[in-house]
Amino acid sequence: MSPTPTAAPAIELIGIDKKFGAVHANKNINLTVAKGSIHGIIGENGAGKSTLMSILYGFYHADAGSIRINGQNTVIQDSQAAISAGIGMVHQHFMLVENFSVLENVILGVEGGALLGRGVSDARSALKRLEADYGLEVDPDAIIEELPVGLQQRVEILKALYRGAEILILDEPTGVLTPAEADHLFKILGVLRDQGKTIVLITHKLREIMAITDTVSVMRRGEMVATRRTTETTVEELAELMVGRRVLLRVEKGPAAPSDVVLSVRNLTVKDGRGVTMVDNVSFDVRAGEVVGIAGVAGNGQSELLEAITGIRKPASGEILIHGKPVTGFDSARLRALGLGHIPEDRHHMGLVLGFEESENSVLGYHRDSRYGRGPLLDLDACREDAKAKIEKYDIRPPNCRLKTANFSGGNQQKIVVAREIERDPALLVVGQPTRGVDIGAIEFIHRRLIAMRDAGKAVLLVSVELDEIRSLSDRILVMFAGRVVGEKTPDTGEQTLGLMMAGIAA
């Protein structure tokens, strides 16, 4: 479907400029999006994509520049103005009220009168029509928190369409979806485009851009660096434009040389706080000198498995052995003393204290070590020297160990955690989502570090929801579904096969 050349562009952004304090988030941005097309905006974290779209949606005000919608100059003061200009947005973190029904979420803000009675029944029939028109079935009376994320996202799309959106902005829509759900979303987007809607897709995943967009714009450090027709560009060119230098998208690594078993998990069963079995009778080994990847859609027990292995959650039954020694039920301090390193899934929740200085986070968890102090006292100079060495070695930017950790970008925060855990030289490294919310340059760096650990004869257990990451780093892949390991595959297994296993369909 090529866009009609005669019609006025759906969106024209002219000279958009926005500063947050010292941060120049958008520098004189110009962007034109043709009506009835899918336009991708790609860039690393912090490149200014989300800011730009938030300006278009009236969430922020640009310091300078103007917006034209369908050829008309339009002032977008707030989201209400954006909605009446026919712009809808699907946010990365869904803007849904979780204990409301689908219907209540859809009508919020457009209730059709001070009393709910009639507006609600009108909305119900309008929703039925939309669902039929675009293949977006969802039960209007279902409660949001009981729906899977894929359906929650569908509700977000319905919300926008119900408000009469002609332009739909999607901010990182596939981050929380399974490959199958993502494919389904792309189909829906295709249908929407064919019905004349204009779609702006913000993402940092190159594959998605190539798969469904008609045109693509690349942002880097607040600037719009290029716009291309998708058919006339390549993944390599886009990656280079994003980062500003050539990037290796696939980690280069030799064959693994696995030796002794370091981690043994035997018939492990783990329950979550509500008593629901999340890990169900799982057994596997990880040997020195190999990376074992655990693939699966988020929420299939990987988090609980990691928590059990790293001593954060007590398993309900089963056994964990490190170097053949039973360590089931040990706390994390004892496990660390036995040579376990842990890069947690969520650096904000577990890996870092964001209000601390970089140097403090750099020793956290090992702060009782004699290198960093004596008795109850910390040797701050030693901590800072140590932090400086890590900053140097891991290229953490800005190179200032006294800066509050919250002020580092996601990629650099992750490098702080990676540096802390790897520099302890653990025999077993347990890694969860090592590159979530991390930009391409830092992904490349972290991946190379993990492979270097493997080549140095360490055992690495990797959990990730990014199938690409699992396939490019692992020597063996275990697929988890509903708390069980449903199969073991080699890394050259096709994405489709793994995707089906992750969905619990084929073994």
Binding site: Y57, H93, V97, L108
Partner: protein
């Protein structure tokens, strides 16, 4: 336990529950909108003082009520200004209001009337007095039902009946109106409200104003319906009990009423048991009964009666994410 006079205990249960019901419903509005309101106690005290002063000056209970509501709404707006507009800590703002109320009402009372922080006693015409229903006097001595009619159904002041009307009214506003839908949404996910093009700030202010009005009724009830004037610290922790009832009721209107009635009953029972001895145990200290609402709430919070899930965005000032 001789002379366990159920009717008179139930009658005083109702009288003691009314300020709790108004106040807990006030808390329901703010907290469902995501603004914690520990200052209920202070608002109640301020409005009790204002109502007593106005009723004394004008001789009209209705002008007293108006004054009580006005002052309470103004205090709510201060809480809103601190915690919504300036994104201050909602607990700190509420506690400050409570201290201010306790001190300022006593000081002003002393300065204006020189009666030790009290306001002068009110004449019956300046108070909300009991409304006696038809035939109440005749039915008083005709068995249990008659006494029930005379003492429980009849014989309360107008504010009591309004409190019981406020319960279904609050339910209707929260669950059957656009305002209620948005209010409940803003307490769960203000981002959803903001992106729907609705002002989070304005919505939360309106919720605190609703709370101010309801607290105005509660304070007015204390000083010019239940008593005949303002006494220093006469709210006596009812604002906190109301908060406990709100949590106990898991932030829902009808259970709020039931929880308030339960806590009112405990209070009435404590009064009844004062100085009486329980066979085999002896005299039970009244403090044990007074502690029960808090103990029950703690038991609830510890998860014995199910999970009390507060509004998700409660206590968190809304800042647009960057």
């Amino acid at each position: 336990m001789e002379n366990l006079d159920l009717i008179s205990i139930l009658g005083s249960t109702i009288r003691l529950s009314i300020p709790l019901i108004f106040t807990a419903l006030a808390g329901l509005f703010t907290e469902r909108a995501g603004v914690f309101d520990i200052g209920l106690e202070g608002k109640m005290l301020f409005s009790a003082f204002a109502a007593a002063v106005a009723a004394f000056m004008t001789g009209s209970p209705w002008l007293g009520l108006l004054a009580g509501i006005t002052v309470s709404v103004l205090i709510s707006l201060i809480h809103g200004f601190a915690s919504i507009t300036n994104r201050g800590n909602q607990i700190v703002s509420g506690v400050a209001i409570n201290f201010l109320a306790s001190g300022l009402t006593a000081v002003l009372g002393q300065a204006w009337f020189s009666q030790g922080g009290r306001t002068p006693p009110l004449a019956a015409s300046a108070r909300f007095t009991e409304i006696v229903f038809p035939y109440a006097a005749e039915l008083r001595d005709t068995g249990f039902l008659g006494r029930f009619y005379a003492n429980i159904i009849s014989g309360h002041n107008i504010l009591t009946y309004l409190a019981f009307l406020a319960v279904p009214a609050s339910w209707w506003v929260l669950y059957r109106t656009r305002f209620g839908l948005r209010l409940r949404a803003v307490g769960e996910n203000p981002g959803a409200v903001d992106t729907a093009g609705i002002s989070v700030t304005f919505l939360r202010y309106r919720a605190t104003i609703c709370a101010g009005i309801l607290c105005g009724f509660a304070g007015t009830y204390l000083s010019i319906a239940q008593s005949a004037g303002f006494v220093k610290d006469m709210s006596a922790g009812k604002g906190y009990i109301a908060l406990a009832a709100l949590i106990f009721a898991k932030w829902r209107p009808v259970p709020v009423m039931l929880a308030c009635l339960l806590f009112g009953f405990l209070d009435a029972f404590a009064n009844f048991m004062q100085g009486k001895s329980v066979p085999g145990i002896g005299e039970v200290p009244v403090q044990i009964f007074q502690a029960l609402p808090y103990v029950l709430t703690c038991v609830l919070l510890a998860g014995f009666i199910g999970v009390a899930r507060p509004p998700k965005a409660g206590g968190v000032p809304y800042v647009k994410e960057r």
